[in-house]
Amino acid sequence: MATGARKAVYPLFQLGGPQLRIFRPNFYMLVVRPGVPQPEDTVQFRVSMEMTKVDIKNYLEKIYNVPVAAVRTRIQYGANNKRNHKNQRVKKPDYKVAYVQLGQGQTFQFPNLFPEKEQDTETRSFDDFKNTYMEREKQRQKGDPRRGGVPDWFGL
């Protein structure tokens, strides 16, 4: 039916009319690490600008099967202060932030998506190569060891 709910024209709603149903929603939602520490049950999302609190609740419950107790949203204005090489103002895009409180006593902690992994043989050999090269460069810059650390500028 409504192909792509973003940038779509919805049918007009009048009292007693049918409930709007969107069959293949194009809305995105992504989890972000909160800048300010949030309570245990609160998850912070960045959502499409056109989504409402009811939309977010239904989205999470139907598509992700996550119980939602409450949703609060706000729109973050992206600044227009930066300038490019032509001195034109470059705008950072606006985005909507949603704070979702999970139901049924669930908690959520944003995981660490970049854990330290042990390096494989390829990278290790490259690091060794790099270290030997750096040592050789430092030796060359030091100068003649027989002069006892005195720079070449001084005669004799």
Binding site: R24, L30, L60, I63
Partner: protein, 216 residues
């Protein structure tokens, strides 16, 4: 189940197994929010392998139910990739294999196209119209002709003050500007054609052995 597995492996490197074990009681799993993140084994990797995007020809062979389910799979994948992108920007690290995003977007666009084709075909058979919303060609006050789609209003047009202020006709003094616009478009067309011809000539001069031999 097999059909679903075949459906998924084209775009995702890993398939999530469906929990169909009857005698296993699971507590309320946080499987919901885990779907916003990749497989934990892929966290911290530099490159994550993924298949090619879905082609329109491949999608045309799938049923509407399959396309519907695939749409949601791709949507969840897109959400996961966007989360990863934002987190990598936050942690100032490179995002592992960002081409996955483009592939997912392309697949979703292709699904949209296929579904739209099917809808148009069905609508043509049932009603005889190909467009979902009726419309007509109208002139604006600058003399340009464009396709105006009808909008839904709760009141008729003769009670709509803002609509009555819009002018769908142009006065005779605009004809001069229409003529200028036409001349400009003709000049642009001729310039484009000449550019094509000169480019073709340059190529023929550089690679004479690849010239198309005209049948004499």
């Amino acid at each position: 189940m097999l059909l679903m597995l075949n459906l998924f492996h084209k775009n995702l490197a890993k398939v999530e197994p469906f929990h169909q074990l009857k005698f296993l009681h699971t507590t309320l799993s946080r499987k919901g929010l885990e779907e916003f993140f990749d497989d934990p084994r892929n966290w911290g990797e530099k490159n994550v392998k993924s298949g090619d995007a879905w082609n329109i020809k491949q999608l045309r062979g799938k049923s509407s139910e399959d396309l519907h389910k695939l749409w949601y799979v791709l949507l969840k994948e897109k959400n996961m990739l966007l989360t990863l992108e934002q987190e990598s920007k936050r942690q100032l690290r490179p995002m592992p294999s960002p081409e996955r995003l483009e592939k997912v977007e392309k697949s979703m666009k292709n699904i949209d196209l296929v579904v739209r084709e099917r809808e148009i075909a069905l609508r043509l058979l049932q009603t005889g119209h190909e467009k979902p919303v009726p419309g007509e060609w109208r002139n604006d006050f600058l003399g340009r002709t464009y396709w105006y789609t009808y909008k839904e209003w709760p009141i008729p047009w003769y009670l709509n003050k803002k609509y009555k202020k819009r002018k769908f006709y142009y006065l005779p003094h605009v004809n001069h500007f229409i003529r200028l616009r036409l001349e400009k478009s003709l000049r642009r067309r001729v310039r484009r054609q000449n550019l094509e011809k000169t480019r073709q000539k340059v190529l023929e001069r550089k690679f004479p052995h690849l010239a198309v031999k005209s049948q004499s």
